[in-house]
């Protein structure tokens, strides 16, 4: 019973902070809310008997990727910017389309969701995951390392300054 309470508490946290990411106009608040949502998702992974992935979620997503987002937001000095409210018809269409899409997803997942869990514990600690990774997925693993190297080189080339561009002064226009 305590498990259900934990599930609902952290599910509510994940959904509320995800809604803050979508609705709040300040990107710094959005990034910090996304970190909170990722922590709640790490709790979900623990409830799903995958503690290794919960640790990876905290280290890689909340620790590395979101720090990168915050660095870029602060580097670009965006924290005081407000989005102008334009195109109300398109905004309304976006909200209704995504709401209909979400309702359809929930309907079909609840309709075709399997309910019976198999017997026995699901062993998914770091040892088991590592053994399966290097048995069956060694080639994709190496490909991911090459992809990350390519991403590093691409990020360096893309973000390097080319030519003399005057730096923005004061409050930047969004």
């Amino acid at each position: 019973m305590i498990t259900f309470a934990i599930f609902f508490f952290f599910a509510a946290i994940a959904v509320i902070f995800a809604a803050v990411v979508v609705l709040h106009r300040n990107p710094v608040v959005g990034a910090l809310s996304l970190v909170a949502s990722f922590f709640a998702l790490a709790v979900m992974y623990v409830l799903l008997e995958a503690p290794f992935l919960a640790a990876l979620q905290v280290i890689v997503y909340a620790g590395a990727i979101m720090v990168l987002f915050l660095f870029v937001i602060m580097l670009l000095n965006l924290q005081h910017q407000e989005e102008p409210r334009t195109r109300p018809v398109q905004q309304f269409l976006g909200y209704t389309t995504s709401a209909a899409f979400g309702l359809a997803l929930i309907y079909y997942l609840a309709k075709f969701g399997v309910t019976k869990l198999p017997e026995g514990p699901f062993v998914s600690d770091a040892r088991t995951v590592g053994i399966r990774m290097f048995e069956a997925y060694i080639f994709p693993f190496e490909m991911v390392s090459i992809l990350l190297l390519a991403a590093i080189v691409g990020a360096l080339i893309l973000s390097g300054r080319t030519g003399a561009i005057p730096p923005p002064t004061g409050e930047n226009k969004l």
Binding site: V15, A18, V21, V22, P27, G30, A31, L34, S37, L41, M44, Y45, L47, L48, F52, L53, L56, V60, Y61, A64, I65, F69, V72, I73, L75, L78, Q81, E83, Q91, L93, G94, Y95, S98, G102, L105, L109, A110, G113, V114, T115, L117, S124, T128, V129, M133, Y137, V144, L148, A151, I152, G154, A155, L156, L158, S159, R161, I165, N172, K173, L174
Partner: protein
């Protein structure tokens, strides 16, 4: 034990919120964060089905998705920095051309 479809419904809600953000927001970095939100919703589905069918392959796919999300974040944010250097804005309405 919590039934699998509750996790699936949570994942569907998070994915729909991410879709909503991508469709309605105009700040490029916020759109990017909503994409990360959708990636995480799909990860939750992978892990839920991995436990449902006692298949560890789902967890390994989540590992690869995390690595690719990291690469995507690095390249995407570098694109936004470059865009900001050229236009002094990251409003995606201002960046609707594929050249200069």
């Amino acid at each position: 034990m919590i039934p699998t479809h509750w996790f699936l419904i949570l994942s569907a809600i998070l994915f729909a919120l991410g879709v909503c953000g991508v469709l309605t927001r105009k700040n490029g970095i916020t759109i990017f964060m909503c994409i990360e939100l959708m990636v995480n919703a799909v990860n939750l589905t992978f892990v839920a089905y991995a436990r449902q069918f006692h298949q560890i392959h789902g967890l390994l796919f989540v590992f690869f998705v995390m690595a690719i999300a990291a690469a995507e974040a690095a390249v995407g944010l570098a694109i936004f920095i470059s865009l900001f250097h050229h236009r002094h804005t990251i409003d995606v309405d201002e960046a609707n051309l594929m050249r200069w």
